[in-house]
């Protein structure tokens, strides 16, 4: 059985998210009656669906992604085709963008996935390292990680909106109630997202392990992560973000930031890939 650990974790987090959603639905029905149940279901599905479609479109548009020409990058197309065949998924659409940093990401789902790589990534990494990165992104598509994140965000947003309105409709409509509603909405979303982030971090490890298995070694991806991580450290040392960092009194690497991080620490990923 593949990914037993992931399935168990997903069962726990999925139950929690469903529980949050259930409470929100019950609160809505308590406020407006049980007749709203079909509307709640249809509204939720539509909300998540629109978010998924818009998110994909916005992501590609925001980086100015263009199709990766096969005549200029035949090797990448060939490797992705081979990886997709081994992973038993359709070959995703390959796109390229100038992002200013070495990066790659996947959007979409199994059968309609898109992988975007940055020009900087292709310039920085060796072909084997690029293959490691591509295998990791394909694993995200195969494991439906993008869809899971959209679903998690959708549930968090719905629960937050319901919590906000529940506070608003049960109060006296004074200024304190309005403020409390906004704050409760925000904190509720954060609370639900803590669980979504936790599973996202685990999914990164799973995608790493899948990539290592598919290409026969964890070294190419570990080496890619190490190279990119070092170049990022050099950029930071060079003071590229000094203007921003000067305004950061506490920085953003503390406990809360770690709790609300989608990726595990790069060092741990490298260590696992090499172990």
């Amino acid at each position: 059985m593949r990914h037993v650990g992931l399935k168990l974790r997903m069962a726990v987090v999925g139950s929690l998210l469903f529980g949050f959603y259930g409470v929100a639905a019950v609160v809505l029905m308590g406020m407006f009656g049980t007749n709203v149940f079909p509307l709640v279901i249809v509204g939720s599905v539509a909300f998540v669906g629109v978010q998924y479609k818009l998110g994909k479109w916005m992501a590609l548009r925001s980086v100015g992604a263009e199709d990766l020409p096969e005549d200029r990058h035949p090797e990448i197309h060939r490797r992705v085709e081979s990886l997709a065949r081994d992973m038993r998924i359709d070959k995703p659409r390959l796109m390229i963008a100038s992002m200013g940093v070495p990066n790659a990401f996947a959007v979409g789902r199994k059968g309609a996935g898109t992988v975007v790589v940055s020009q900087e990534l292709l310039r920085t990494l060796d072909p084997d390292e690029v293959e490691g990165v591509l295998a990791h992104e394909l694993a995200h598509i195969r494991n439906r990680d993008v869809v899971m994140m959209v679903l998690g965000q959708g549930i968090a947003s719905i629960v937050a909106i319901v919590a906000q309105w529940a506070v608003l409709l049960t109060g006296d409509n004074d200024l304190a109630d309005l403020f409390l509603a906004i704050v409760v909405g925000q904190l509720t979303q954060m609370l639900v997202m803590v669980f979504v982030f936790a599973i996202s971090r685990y999914r990164e490890y799973v995608a790493d392990a899948d990539a290592a298995r598919e290409i026969g070694s964890g070294e190419p991806l570990a080496s890619a992560l190490e190279k990119i991580s070092h170049s990022a450290t050099r950029r930071e040392d060079a003071g590229v973000d000094d203007q921003v960092n000067a305004l950061c009194i506490f920085g953003d690497g503390g406990g809360l930031a770690n709790l609300l991080a989608t990726h595990p620490p790069v060092e741990k990923r490298i260590e696992r890939l090499r172990s």
Binding site: G55, A232, L260
Partner: protein, 78 residues
């Protein structure tokens, strides 16, 4: 006796304000993950911080929450 909802508004407002001040990038991430690829910004394999403008905006909102929380706290117990 202090109004419970006003006290809650004060306490939770302060809490949210502190979160915005301490970890603005994480607060932005809470709203953007799933709506756009979470690893689109920054280097590969890490959570990219949003742009400086967004961080500043979240911090400014955080200051607003702290001030409003303080005000409601004063109203509730004052």
């Amino acid at each position: 006796m202090a109004d419970l909802r006003t006290l809650l508004a004060a306490g939770l407002g302060l809490l949210l304000g502190v979160c915005c001040l301490l970890a603005p990038g994480a607060v932005v991430r809470v709203h953007t993950v799933g709506r756009r690829p979470h690893d689109r910004r920054g280097g590969y394999g890490a959570d990219g911080d949003p742009s400086g403008r967004w961080l500043l905006l979240v911090r400014a909102v955080g200051v607003g929450f702290v001030l409003a929380g303080g005000y409601f706290g004063y109203v509730a117990v004052g």
